[in-house]
Symmetry: C2
Subunit: 576 residues, 2 copies
């Protein structure tokens, strides 16, 4: 008798598992159940659809050759039965069957299985406030969400134009309030701003992009403001103000901001109701506990994608990082194991992420600095700035790289980066290195590709590793922007010494720094105080560090340098 | 007494070693000796200077903040004595001194050292033919070479323009013949073609870019031709034809091609004369043998950069891969060890390379297929094609990824890639994985960064790893372009089955392939022969593989698929 495989969930992990199972077992009966009217779409593309960069939403559901992945496609090409608008209601583990119900007809039926794969994904979470059910309050989780949101944007924009033409109201941009400044919130804020809307982002936490370290995220916040986006951090929304049944604004602690539309992007949590009701074990992160074969606590049931817990390869602990890339990998593993038995493993993740934000890219892998500390490591951190290619190449652009290593083992725990240049490449190389458990010494000597259109001869990733080594070895004494700010807050008043050229000093002043070009430092050092902390600064941190070493050589024990230099400074202006 | 460090060679490794030594020892006396009039320049930027993308050659010698690294800069900023136009004549190891001579005054002097660092680099090699000494025959190795070559290009272009204006001769592009189709030859050919010159590249070997695998290099060759560059492979130059003391063409076996200028780019070899004369051990590659601390056979002498042998981290054997990136890393290690004793190691390289060629990028890391075989591995290889981002994202571009793994250990030995899309990122992640000795199974589950502006949810690198796994596990039966051509040469006549859509089949036909869209394959399979080899083809290889699995499921043992699909096909047109 043919093996019966039932997959609950029709996006990312689910279809991937079904397709893989089919390739391994031509005879299996494979059924995918999906609640939405559509399946197998690229949900990560929603912000680009909303912004108009992706013209038709159907593109997100097409194969690279332009075929829509609808039930007919699944049947003809994949030989997989796809039931859309169908909800899985109950898993009867003792009978090995799933009860499902059509959302159109209400008709219930029973799907018996030999192997069940849960790919129920995640659901959007919202703040516990009133007004979220108004019709012009949106989320961006499902296909239907995305279509509704863009339709509403287009409709209200048209309405405003009509009113302008009718002389009722002067044309103005649409006011969109985004609640939440995480990945989706920022990506969508960019998309809306590029459409010409007036965007306000409200974040409860004290900073944007909570999954990046503060000094990286601060660059995005500065950039968002430079683009005209209003960013309010550390501000909790009290309620969505509703008039005549429609949201008209957000009430915040100090003010009420008007809004024609509200997008709620406050995050997601794993969708585990069905699994929990069936008595499957839920892990400490709230996602379905799985073993390395992606088997749940019931050996006949696998879980893959956003509903499943993952193992963090740096801490060894359970984590939950929902991503389409991970979901696809897990789908393949679950599909394989459902057919062949538990032959494949999914080792885990290192928390790699990337985001485009206007001209900037930001990316991370491994642990952040605070995460490293929480996990029991003793982090040693360096931040370096530099051009992503030799400065003489057209298109060379600065990037900022932060590396976090463990003092004892010298192991690289994480890397984060931001900038206009090629950030993703450095972070992907670092991600492989972190996965392999490499030390800073090994990363510093990685054989990365090199040619002027791509990299300077010393790649910024390697420079970051060397900066960490210099710190570990007690040679480099770096001060990071947030440390310098903290010093100032604590009443420590370092003397800032600008070792750039007079022209650079003039062109981009930095507080009230004293100018001593690096070439003059040796002979003018005697004018510097030996007790007061000295912070040497330059464009990217390199000359500052050289200056520190020169002063050390002259017996100054009070010299340090500003890591990342002026390029790496993410705040408006230093106090002194 | 201050430690005396002498560095021979003022480009890349040399200045890096000197600067590092200075940061570690403020009191050392550090001297750098350089034969050329200039030092510390970015030699890899020469092709971009020749092409005009880099306007002034001085830019190659400037710091990112625009300061020229001349002897004065070295003295004031680095506290390093730089002697240009100075040749090291002899190393007297027993006295620990180097005899040098000024190329301007002829004056000789003795530089005593405690530690000597050899950074003598590489020298251009030429074919053993006549005419190479004509004044309009150029190389592109040194600063002076680059300046002379560009000046000549500009001068002759001006001359041609003048003649046109005077009515003597109609304006025509400059004819430049490039001998050698390696990295420098191709980069310069592009630069010249972009200037509007008429470029012919002559390569003795049967294909361009000998350090890439044939099926990757073939894409570059096709691209070069599409850009109007004449590419002659498998053609050895008999002589440079010289008239009135100037080169006027190249005599080839069958023809003589005219040339206003000739560039010789036939490669380099390590510059070891001084080391050899001093009795230092030379390794099997012809470069100076060094240990992991970069110490030569004399413990007081280090060697770094292009003159030094390296260890290949995949084979464990000595190799010689001259690169500015490696030179900088080695310079740092040598500079450190010269000061602190042998505390640092340079582990070796994995042969990572990247090249831009018009819109294409090609990159490699690890071993090529033939190299893997020569090194005693049993290579299993897969080639995949795919968009570098989701197809719905603007700017998505195809890339081709070839992965080479070892059958027994499943270890990834090498990765090569080519395409308009982001190739470098995938190869750098692969380079770290190869360095770490990861298996295909580990690479397939690498946590690479993912967001639609950067990657599809299943990154092409991971798809390549899965393709290798499918082959290792006996499920995928791929045929690569060169295999298909070989089959045809051997008289095997497979039936080509195009599983794309009718529209794709029409738009980009592939030989005389029979059209059976994938969705119809199950029901039309009975029409296919069961004895004759079947090769299923599609756009990128994915549907072809699915088709192979469908046919396998129906009992066809004769089905395989074209790896990389039509996108990956690098030749003009298939025979059948």
């Amino acid at each position: 008798m043919a093996r019966r495989i039932v997959v609950i969930g029709g996006v990312a992990a689910g279809p991937k598992a079904a397709a893989r199972a089919r390739r391994l077992d031509p005879a299996a009966e494979i059924t995918v159940v999906e609640r939405d009217a559509h399946a197998s779409y690229g949900a990560c593309g929603f912000p680009y659809y909303v912004g108009g960069g992706v013209a038709r939403i159907e593109e997100l559901m097409e194969t690279p050759s332009g075929v829509v992945r609808d039930p007919r496609f699944f049947e003809q090409v994949k030989d997989v039965r796809l039931l859309t608008r169908t909800e899985a209601v109950e898993i009867r583990r003792d009978h090995r069957e799933v009860m499902v119900r059509s959302l159109d007809t209400g008709e219930a039926r029973t799907l018996p299985y030999d192997r069940l794969i849960l790919a129920t994904g995640a659901r959007a979470t919202g703040p516990p406030i009133r007004g979220l059910d108004a019709p012009n309050v949106f989320r961006l989780k499902t296909y239907s969400d995305a279509r509704r949101f863009r339709a509403a944007l287009d409709q209200i924009a048209d309405l405003l134009k009509e009113r302008d033409l009718a002389g009722d109201e002067k044309a103005r941009p649409l006011r969109v309030a985004v609640i939440g400044a995480g990945l989706i919130g920022l990506e969508t804020a960019e998309a809306l701003q590029e459409r010409g809307e007036e965007v306000t982002v409200v974040e409860r936490l004290p900073r944007v992009l909570p999954n990046a370290d503060p000094e990286i995220a601060a660059h995005l916040e500065k950039h968002a403001r430079s683009k005209g986006i209003r960013v309010l951090t550390g501000v909790g929304v009290r309620e969505v103000v509703v008039e005549d049944g429609r949201a008209v604004g957000l009430r915040l602690p100090g003010e009420t901001i008007p809004a024609d539309l509200v997008l709620v992007a406050t995050g997601v949590r794993p969708e585990v109701d069905l699994a929990r009701a069936a008595g499957l074990e839920i892990g400490p992160t709230g996602a379905i506990r799985v073993d390395e074969h992606l088997r749940t606590s019931d050996p006949g049931i696998y879980a893959a994608g956003d509903c499943a817990e993952k193992r963090h390869l740096v801490t060894g602990r359970p984590c939950w990082i929902p991503l389409g890339s991970t979901a696809n990998k897990e789908g393949r593993v679950a599909g394989t194991n459902a057919v062949l038995g538990d032959v494949e493993t999914f080792p885990g993740v290192v928390g790699s992420l990337v985001m485009r934000f206007f001209e900037l890219t930001t990316a991370r892998t491994g642990l952040g600095e605070a995460e490293a500390r929480e996990a029991g490591f003793a982090p040693v951190v360096a931040v370096v700035a530099g051009p992503d290619k030799p400065h003489f190449m057209p298109g060379a652009a600065p990037i900022l790289v932060k590396m976090i290593a463990d003092r004892g083992s010298r192991r690289v725990l994480g890397v984060q980066a931001v900038g206009r240049g090629d950030v993703a490449r450095r972070v992907d190389a670092a991600g492989a290195a972190v996965t392999a458990g490499m030390t800073v010494d090994q990363v510093a000597n990685l054989d990365l590709v090199y040619a002027p259109p791509y990299s300077p001869p010393m790649d910024p990733l390697l420079v970051a590793a060397n900066a960490v080594r210099n710190k570990l070895d007690g040679r480099a004494r770096g001060v990071r922007p947030d440390e310098l700010r903290r010093w100032q807050g604590e009443g420590v008043a370092p003397l800032l010494v600008d070792v750039r050229s007079p022209a650079e000093h003039e062109a981009l002043p930095f507080g009230n720094a004293t100018l001593i070009p690096l070439g003059q430092l040796r002979r003018r050092a005697e004018d510097l105080p030996r007790e007061r902390p000295l912070v040497l600064l330059c464009k990217i941190g390199l000359r500052g560090y050289e200056g520190q070493r020169i002063l050390n050589g002259l017996g100054f024990e009070n010299a340090s340098y500003l890591e990342g230099g002026v390029v790496g400074w993410p705040y408006e202006a230093p106090d002194r």
